[in-house]
């Protein structure tokens, strides 16, 4: 009975890959059967990045369960090992080292924060192990992970929309509609993600006729935002730009509204999670940002994801869950086509890397491909906080 069932599965897999036609993995389906593809994720489940990491983890786990439940990757099962880096750069590098030293991982995912990626990505590159960033949006993540060295990193990919695309699209959308004259930038200066976002805002605003009255820098460990917010609000700007992460954007919005600010909040990826929208509550209503994903998109690969996520976790997914989910689909698709041997890990890693470059699949983010720089090229969804812990769509921007 068992061998019969197995024969059917193998036959089915062969038939499926045969349908795929040119799939290079077709002849190797048998060697996948009963094997395990080991993946390791370095995520910030605690600390400042704790608002993002758990979402990524849930999205990844959902995809792993879905793929394993429907026959795995050519019959091989996915195994995901998630490690917490406590949002700390040094700890992130340590965790990556530990995962790599286990010796059997085919690919890494993460880390959650750009700040940690600076340490982890070059490490993965030096060990020639593919790493797929799922939430890092800073500058110099791909392709030049060894910044300031400019030679491209061959093993580093990301499926997370960079702030260099998202923030200008957001500012343009708002400027076209409301024609603001002045702005103040509030930026955390001790975190790569935040300070990168700040630089992008500074470089963008003048194109749209917005005068930056002041840049208020603060530390990400600031607790009482009364002082920095007073400094910003007293300039009476039309817009407050916030580039920071964790609960900080919400805290700034709450404090600014208390101090009588009635203008617009514009920001980056730090806005794009339901936790932040929920924390900001009514004070965050209308706060606008560019996002890689929008929950109410109705195309099948998103609708199916949202439905499955709600069924499993009884809560709504956010962008980070969608990117985590997409990352597993991307790796599974690449693994399927990579002709893995399961005996030569180093060789398999390189094969996987090569296959990743030609990924072209449907994900909750939309149709997904990598650019030649291993970055993502996709539609940008301009969204607003709705004041009740959710978001509404303003418009979609297709990058030129």
């Amino acid at each position: 009975m068992r061998t019969g069932a197995r024969a059917i599965v193998v036959g089915l897999a062969l038939a499926l890959t045969a349908c795929g036609g040119s799939a290079p993995g077709a002849s190797s389906s048998n060697s996948y059967q009963g094997k395990t593809i080991h993946l390791g994720a370095i995520l910030s489940l605690t600390g400042a990045g704790g608002v993002y990491g758990p979402s990524s983890q849930k999205g990844m786990q959902l995809a792993v369960d879905k793929i394993n439940g429907s026959g795995g990757v050519n019959g091989a099962q996915l195994a995901l090992d998630v490690k917490d880096d406590n949002s700390d750069k040094a700890q992130s590098a340590q965790v990556a080292q530990t995962l790599i030293q286990q010796g059997q991982l085919l690919s890494l995912l993460g880390p959650t924060l750009s700040n940690s990626a600076v340490a982890v990505h070059p490490l993965a590159e030096s060990f020639k192990i593919p790493i797929l960033a799922v939430s890092t949006t800073g500058i110099h993540i791909v392709p030049d992970c060894n910044y300031p060295k400019t030679d491209p990193c061959k093993y580093v990919f990301r499926d997370s929309l960079g702030e260099e695309s998202a923030i200008p699209a957001d500012i343009k959308t708002y400027a076209d509609q409301a024609h603001p004259k002045t702005g103040v930038l509030m930026v955390a200066n001790d975190d790569k993600f935040s300070s990168d976002g700040g630089k992008i805002v500074q470089n963008t605003v003048s194109q749209y006729g917005i005068q930056l009255l002041d840049t208020v820098q603060f530390s990400k460990t600031t607790a009482d935002f009364a002082t920095p917010v007073t400094k910003a609000v007293q300039k009476h700007p039309d817009v407050i730009f916030i580039t920071s992460l964790g609960g900080i954007p919400a805290k700034i919005m709450i404090e600014a509204r208390k101090q009588g600010f009635t203008g617009q909040f514009l920001g980056g990826n730090g806005f794009n999670t339901a936790v932040v929208s929920k924390q900001a509550g009514a004070d965050g209503k209308g706060a606008q940002s560019g996002s890689a994903w929008y929950i109410n998109n109705t195309f099948a690969s998103n609708a199916g994801f949202v439905q499955a996520y709600r069924a499993k976790f009884s809560s709504d997914p956010d962008q980070f869950a969608a990117q985590g989910y997409a990352a597993i689909l991307i790796l599974a698709d690449a693994a399927k086509r990579a002709n893995l041997t399961f005996s030569d890990v180093a060789g398999d890693r390189t094969k996987l890397r090569d296959a990743m470059e030609s990924v072209n699949i449907d994900t909750p983010l939309g149709r997904f491909q990598f650019t030649s720089d291993h970055d993502v090229k996709q539609t940008i969804w301009i969204i607003q906080m709705d004041g009740n812990g959710g978001f509404s769509l303003v418009k979609s921007v297709t990058p030129s």
Binding site: T46, Y52, G53, T221, A223, G247, K258, V275, S315
Partner: protein
Amino acid sequence: MTQQILNAIFIGSIYALFAVGYTLVFGVLDVLNLAHSAVFMLGAVITYSLVALHGMPFLPAAVIAVLVCGLLGLLIEFVALRPLRRRNAPPISALISTIGLALIFVAIVEQATPGSFFSWLWQDGANSVRFPAGTVPNPTFHVLGLTIEGTKLLILITAVVLMLVLGYVIRFTQMGRALRAVAENRRAATLLGIQVDRVFASTLFLSSALGGLAGLLFGLAISDISPYIGRDQVELKGLAVIVLGGMGSIPGAVLGGYLLGLIEVLAFVRFGSNVEAGVAFAALFLVLVLRPQGLFGAQLRERL
């Protein structure tokens, strides 16, 4: 600028309240209780859990949290301090054992699992939360172009009243006299019939209750409740405050708290965040060099 000075007074009140408990233990026991910042965090976290998860009104929740923090003070005394004192261990051992307790307190909150008392931490992945809107009425007053929040005013008043009460207790009551006697000379106090162990226990209770209160007021006004607020926000600053004011001096801790708040805010406004912490600690350094006894060390011949 006036608004910024107001901001400084509010944050200074929290520093002062926290530092008073810190310095009390140091004055009486000659030990730095580094678990004080963890108790500060628990004050906020316990109140939040009772209010947001168990639907309790704010006031009883706050009272329970302050009492629990006081009892944790007793735990610190019985677990981390008394056994070492019995063995005549050097003060550094006590300091290290309180660091250990602090780590345990933080880990208990951090490792909360679904369904447990601190499960909010786990629930939505956000490990910084704030009290639900409307927990405490928070009218915002706009006077002469200044924004004054109800909760912050409440903090200022609570802090000032409590510090005055504490000052009265220490100066004019039987218990206060016992505290000062033990602080002055432990052996002489014992010979006079003061039960030193009991004085230590009540000092820890009082100090930790104040620490917990400072924590819950911080959580209320600053909208930041997480397992790390003690470590990140007050641990080192509290130390700076009591050194600034003179180790073991309560008026010193109060004035040191407001002074640190003011220095921080002015440094931020004038120079920006890069130097904010630097300026505060440079002031501390200056005080240590020029007046090692602290700003108020000399005038106060006796401790507390």
